[in-house]
């Protein structure tokens, strides 16, 4: 079903778009590691990185500056790139699978499920000592909710993909009710912790902490990447894609589980970051057209850029304090999405 050669034979009509996005991403990364409560010059950064590779460069730096770059800024930026790419790609493939421009990762229950489990973990207080337990619990919750939605939708009559959207709404509502209940019974410390967790952030990123998530994201991205050509056939219609030899049930399963994997892994370490998965594919399609061989990589790049910019804003706007990145994304993303919709409609009229 998934046609590897067809993916390899890609002839990008707009290679420029990917090039521009890559350059933007590199610049964003540079800005992100330079700016912060403690400024690092480009020269110092080059020297520190050079020293890692065994080169001696002329710009001097202090040991604590090396620590800031390698142990604080770098893992944070790397996490931002992976989470952003995961959200961008997830939005792009789900919008194609559901043939619905409003689809986003939250719809298949992964964020709601992760949040419910995380909140339950915090409130039942199995000890905050173990830093690994909270992300693992959240990841399990996200994947469980998605698998539940997928299994329930298989027992419905008619359009299974449409049923999945509706079941997703129901499961999300149940998750939210559960979260509300836990918030109600939590004490002040727990409430503050879970509120911050739900608004998302990269503040606690360490190499050790993010590595398992990065691995999961890589696995999921690799499998989604190969869905580009069958997803193009989906734009003709689900029945038509089936007639063209796409095993639509298998494709649905691969996409749903891969998205649950990468978004679950992201939510586990960074909390809920909304709007990136919804908006990024919309912006990309304005420039790339509908071909998923371009939409998917471009959504990954732009997702990473948008997430890094949001993180930069989150940690510099009220420096030295930090805003939750989820808050920044919603505050900027909501109005931006409105503008996008309204300006598009004006163009059509």
């Amino acid at each position: 079903m998934i046609n590897e050669n067809a993916v390899k034979q890609v002839q990008f009509e707009k290679p420029g778009l990917l090039m521009i996005l890559t350059i933007c991403l590199v610049l964003t990364v540079l800005v992100n590691i330079t700016i912060g409560s403690y400024g690092l010059s480009i020269g110092k950064i080059l020297s520190i990185l050079g020293a890692q590779a065994g080169l001696t460069l002329p710009w001097g730096y202090a040991p604590h500056e090396e620590g800031i770059l390698l142990s604080i800024r770098m893992p944070r930026v790397v996490l931002g790139i992976f989470v952003g790419a995961a959200l961008g790609i997830s939005g792009a493939v789900l919008q194609a699978l559901f043939r619905n421009p409003l689809a986003e990762p939250g719809l298949i229950g992964v964020s709601g499920g992760a949040a419910l489990f995380a909140v339950a973990y915090i409130v039942f207080g199995f000890g905050f000592a173990s830093g690994f337990m909270l992300p693992i619990t959240a990841f399990a919750g996200g994947v469980c909710a998605t698998v539940l939605i997928y299994l329930l939708s298989r027992n419905t009559v008619g359009d299974k993909v449409a049923s999945m959207l509706l079941i997703g709404i129901a499961i999300n509502a149940i998750s939210m009710a559960g979260i509300g209940l836990f918030q109600f019974v939590s004490d002040d410390t727990q409430l503050r912790l879970l509120t911050f967790w739900m608004m998302g952030g990269f503040g606690s990123a360490t190499w050790q902490g993010i590595m398992p998530s990065l691995l999961l994201v890589v696995v999921g991205l690799a499998s989604l990447w190969r869905c580009a050509v069958p997803l193009n056939a989906y734009l003709l219609g689900i029945a038509e894609a089936g007639h063209l030899g796409v095993d639509t049930k298998k494709l649905t399963r691969i996409i749903i589980l891969s998205v649950a994997l990468i978004v679950g892994a992201s939510v586990a370490v960074s909390g809920i970051i909304s709007f990136v998965g919804l908006i990024v594919p919309h912006i990309v399609r304005q420039f790339s057209g509908p071909d998923h061989r371009l939409v998917i990589p471009a959504s990954a790049l732009l997702g990473a850029i948008v997430t890094l910019v949001a993180d930069l804003a989150a940690r510099t706007v009220v420096m030295p304090a930090e805003l939750p990145i989820g808050l920044v994304c919603s505050a900027v993303g909501g109005p931006f999405f409105l503008w996008l919709l309204l300006s598009k409609n004006r163009g059509r009229a």
């Binding site: 069958p230 734009l235 003709l236 029945a239």
Partner: protein
């Protein structure tokens, strides 16, 4: 060798959409399904396509049960022209036709000459650069027709019997292109040995182009056979409830069905 439905029935709840129908399309034969609205024509096509599982009976492709043939393999052997298409994204017409080559897993250098031949055959050259979503209903139908031909076009790597299912292929077309698409379908059966099965509404088109017609009424097969034998005044009255007269063309004495008041 044939694309065959044997004693198939399909129920939704207790309502029968089709009851115990057997029909087939064979290589080199142009078959047509006729019948009033709600007779089960589209259901039959969905059953043959594999979109709908029959409640009883079997569908087979060249003597093998359809369910036992993988999706890719099916796609190389049979194509289905949908009645209408809803593509809202900005693909060019050429991109749409190119999607027909999806099951073949081949580089564009192999696809290109095949597409060129088909685009010429369907006379759609002038549409290829345009955005599919901006085309008229009839132009979309012709581009989709080119796509399904691209899907099962015989090549050195893809021999064997090919089957083409057409769901009301003429519904959106002006008279010129209605004849054009039927002529191409007829030619594909004669020259390329395709098995063609089309749903049509125009009795005269069926009379002129079909080798075999299947008359469906209320989910059951009413009559089948060569159009000359099947489409007589009594049958037309029974199936559609209209009175007709059958005239003869002066040139070749071929029959023309005309409704009387």
């Amino acid at each position: 060798m044939s694309y065959q439905a044997t004693n198939v029935s399909a129920y939704v709840g207790k309502k029968a959409l089709v009851k115990n129908i057997s029909l087939s399309t064979k290589p080199g034969v142009f078959s047509v399904i006729l019948g009033p609205n709600g007779a089960g024509k589209s259901t039959m096509l969905k059953l043959l396509a594999g979109d709908l599982k029959p409640s009883s009976g079997t569908i087979s492709l060249d003597q093998k049960p359809l369910g036992g043939i993988g999706y890719r393999e099916r796609a190389k052997r049979r194509a289905i022209l949908p009645q209408s298409s809803h593509v809202t994204f900005n693909f060019t017409a050429y991109d749409i036709v190119l999607m027909g080559r999806l099951p073949h897993d081949e580089p564009p250098s192999v696809s290109r000459p095949i597409l060129k031949e088909i685009i010429k055959l369907t006379r759609t050259e002038y549409l290829m650069e345009q955005q599919f979503s901006t085309l008229s209903g009839g132009e979309k139908q012709r581009v989709q027709f080119a796509r399904v031909l691209a899907q099962i076009w015989p090549t050195d790597d893809n021999r064997g019997h090919k089957y083409l299912l057409l769901d009301e292929p003429t519904s959106a077309l002006d008279p010129l292109y209605q004849l054009e698409i039927l002529k191409i379908a007829r030619w594909l059966a004669n020259e390329k040995g395709f098995g063609v099965l089309a749903i049509l509404h125009d009795l005269n088109q069926a009379m002129s182009y079909a080798d075999q017609v299947y008359l469906l009424k209320e989910g059951e097969l009413n009559r089948s056979g060569p159009p000359n034998d099947v489409l007589d005044k009594e049958t037309i009255r029974t199936v559609w409830g209209i009175n007709t007269e059958i005239l003869r063309r002066s040139a070749d004495h071929s029959p023309v069905i005309v409704a009387t008041l």
